[in-house]
Symmetry: C2
Subunit: 233 residues, 2 copies
DNA sequence: CAGTATCCAGTTGGATACTG
DNA sequence: CAGTATCCAACTGGATACTG
């Protein structure tokens, strides 16, 4: 039961639902294509399953999400009402990247970063056959190496070596690579300063920034005319 | 201290601030022109002063609001960052009016309604001199009559008779008048059905819907092609 | 006018374990 | 796979009173 503002104002009525913690992030995950309970959990690792379940029920009751059972498989998807939240979520992302640029250490998460990157690989740009990219975060005590396996049938993330030959190794600290992903730091600058190191065939290293698309808000203009990261050529 | 999502996603970073209860309603009040603590309180009657104070401080720390002391008067206003939330708040209002049309009894509040109406009087359309409109909510046990005093120097709301001659009396139940204000119900329909009764000179009664502007979201198209309330001619 | 101080009941949600 | 169940510590915010 979302708490009530006691106002007939439509902004207040909208926020009674949407300002509950996690709610709009669940909606964001659904917008990004997650359809099943455990897929949603992967994008929301700090959310307990009990709470995710509760939020989904609230969203279903509010008509924002529909729950579909086929057999023993459950599918969630946005209704028309939920899809109309997309411009709002997008605008919140653009506002956030402009006005809340600082990240705390607690905001960094290699699993989430790899998960985002894997969702945005430009498979057209990657050579045919299997391409494996290793991400190495040497400053970390655990979860220091991640493998991105790009093949014809999709893209996978692993935190254990799948054993295939590696085409490129990307070495950086997690904060730097996160900033590149968000568009806070341009590839060119990160590579030029040595903050990101690429190892592998020179041609593959040169091509890598085109294989990995950045966050959808990466190109949002920043306030104060700070130099704008440029997209990969 | 807003709680943390542990995500670098800019939507998550934005919501860490903005999904705290009341926060976006404070921002909305500032957008509507409130500048002082007690002015904000008038638009947020169910919010305790301690909580309003806390939210304002959080917004100032986040760079969304600036606090200005001149003498012993304190002024709050939105920064550039805060002003950039306006399209988001507007979009939330349009989404809310489309997808959360039902109002509970707890959402109805004559003081808030009169306060909204008073902020939106079209003083150009009202005859010169003083015009007093009485709003009568006969079904209510308390706060049954409200006076709107429109003069050259501004518009006032009273819940006690200011003693001036009354030009028009608007009688309706609170829910009906709230629905008219929100654009859920057209003036023409409300008057035609007798749900709203106007008393006074016929000419003034005919003109009244043009004196009172409706909510800024009143003309938002509704889903499902339900008949759209029309603006006052 | 513009808040602060205090108290405390109620709610929230994290952790963990478990189920059909 | 898709959740429930349970427990409980922490937080939240409402009420009320008070201050410079």
């Amino acid at each position: 039961m979302p708490s009530q503002y006691g106002q007939f104002c439509p902004v207040a009525k909208a926020m009674e639902l949407l300002d509950e913690r996690w709610t709009l992030l669940v909606v964001r995950e659904l917008m990004l294509g997650s359809r099943h309970f455990n897929a949603l959990r992967r994008g929301l690792p700090r959310m307990s399953p009990a709470l995710l379940s509760k939020r989904l029920h609230t969203l279903v009751r509010a008509g924002v999400v529909e729950r579909w059972e086929d057999g023993n498989r459950v599918t969630y998807r946005l209704t028309e009402s939920g899809r109309e939240l997309e411009p709002i979520v997008d605008a919140l992302g653009r506002w956030g990247i402009r006005w809340i640029p600082e990240l705390g250490d607690a905001d960094l998460d290699p699993h989430l970063l790899l998960w985002d990157i894997h969702r945005n690989v430009d498979t057209e740009a990657v050579p045919d056959g299997r391409t494996v990219i290793v991400f190495s975060f040497p400053e970390r005590a655990t979860a220091r190496r991640w493998w991105l396996v790009i093949a014809a049938d999709g893209v996978d993330v692993c935190d254990v070596d799948p054993g295939f030959p590696v085409r490129v190794t990307v070495q950086a600290d997690l904060r730097t690579l996160t900033r590149v992903w968000r568009g806070d730091l341009a590839w060119s600058e990160a590579l030029g300063s040595g903050a990101v190191l690429l190892r592998g065939e020179p041609q593959a290293c040169r091509a890598l920034p085109r294989w990995l698309r950045l966050s959808s808000v990466a190109l949002t203009p920043r306030p104060g005319g700070s130099p704008q990261p440029v997209a990969a050529r």
